[in-house]
């Protein structure tokens, strides 16, 4: 019988990690005083975008008393980073795909697996042949939401003072945790599937085909009304699902950490960090899954709008 020696390297690494985690509460907590700390305002500041006190503001144009200014805020900077990452990934993939005889690199393999899986299992069954032009839109949704969800799991890492002084706002958080971002993505899907439906079936034909062909006469108005409501509710559910999943995860993580400040006791520290570790692991899974779901449902709605029964 073989007697196995204990894996010394693994034990040393585990001991190091436990020591790091135990040393966390010794790090002094730079917090507000006991009277000045309000859990809900701290949570609110962490989760929402700092549009009221932005880092910078650029006036774009103004007509009379209507002024359009661009506010450089936390989510704006993060969204720019995410957009650059999406562009870089797609350019990289395109450049590698142009030369199919070269040995593929590992990163190229990862992107190819993603794109091939999404195409075969998700986009081609629901979009069909005439929907091939929407593969790129849905894959861009997937990459954008995936990158912004994953970047949102990085805790706020850099304090940047807003314009006009005041307390520094930390750069961090999920871009998709902003209702405006998810609403923008959902409205793109809404516009695409309605306009494509009107292109495919005719402007009147799209609205007429909302009611299926064989419904009896008395049920037609009810079905029509339900389908109209369904268009809006599907879009709203798409928007709110992504937003709520991201906000829910970040609220859970932040509340457990902010309990240390609320109860003014460092003993909560190690427990809070361990629980947050478990929640963050779940959040990684939720991040990838929500990106897949948004992309799949967008493709599904576009495919349903285009399909002639």
């Amino acid at each position: 019988m073989l007697i196995q020696r204990a894996n010394v390297t693994l034990l040393k690494r585990m001991a190091f990690i436990v020591l790091l985690l135990a040393a966390l509460p010794i790090v002094p907590v730079f917090a507000a005083e006991a009277q000045g700390f309000n859990l809900s305002t701290a949570l609110f500041t962490e989760l929402t975008d700092n549009v009221d006190h932005p880092y910078a503001s650029l006036p774009l144009f103004s007509i009379g008393s209507f002024h359009l200014t661009l506010f450089i805020t936390k989510h704006f900077i993060l969204m720019t980073a995410v957009a650059l990452l999406v562009l870089l990934s797609l350019f990289y993939l395109a450049r590698k795909l142009r030369d199919p005889y070269r040995k593929p690199t590992r990163l190229q393999g990862l992107f190819e697996v993603l794109l091939d899986y999404m195409r075969r299992e998700v986009y081609e069954p629901v979009l069909g042949e005439e929907g091939r032009k929407y593969h790129l839109l849905c894959f861009t949704f997937f990459l954008f939401i995936l990158y912004s969800n994953l970047l949102g799991l990085i805790p706020p890492f850099a304090p940047v003072p807003p314009k006009g002084g005041g307390e520094a706002v930390w750069l961090g958080g999920a871009v998709t945790g902003n209702l405006a971002t998810t609403a923008g993505l959902g409205l793109i899907t809404f516009m695409v599937f309605n306009i494509q439906g009107m292109f495919s079936k005719g402007v009147i034909g799209y609205w007429r085909d909302l009611v299926p062909h064989g419904t009896p006469g008395w049920m037609a108005p009810v079905t029509f009304l339900l389908e109209i409501v369904g268009i809006f509710s599907k879009t709203l559910a798409l928007i709110m699902r992504l937003f709520a999943n991201m906000i829910g995860g970040h609220v859970a993580i932040l509340v457990i950490l902010l309990l240390v400040l609320k109860f003014q006791s460092l003993a909560i520290g190690p427990v809070a960090v361990l629980v947050d570790l478990a929640i963050s692991a779940l959040e990684i899974f939720v991040a990838v899954l929500q990106a897949y779901i948004f992309s799949f449902l967008s493709a599904l709605f576009i495919g349903l709008a285009m399909k002639k029964h």
């Binding site: 809900s40 949570l43 609110f44 299992e121 559910a237 709110m240 699902r241 937003f243 709520a244 999943n245 906000i247 829910g248 609220v251 899954l289 929500q290 779901i293 799949f296």
Partner: protein, 86 residues
Amino acid sequence: MDSQSLVALAQGITKLGAYIGACIGAGLAVLGVGMGLGRIGASALEGIARQPEALSKIQTNMLLAAVLVEGVGIIALVICILAIVM
């Protein structure tokens, strides 16, 4: 009672109502999600037990249905958080 403590009492009762409503709402939402996901999981497992070679297809569809049900529950939870915060 003078008007200032009356206003404070009214605000306190509003907050109490908001907290009670939010917590009951969150509990009911989680109840619904739990029942829904349980049924999805049970039928998925039954399908896998009947036909083990369809495992990946069943798993994909189970995850899809689970995310949709969970999405509705999380939307309700966000509304409850909104009731507490505002």
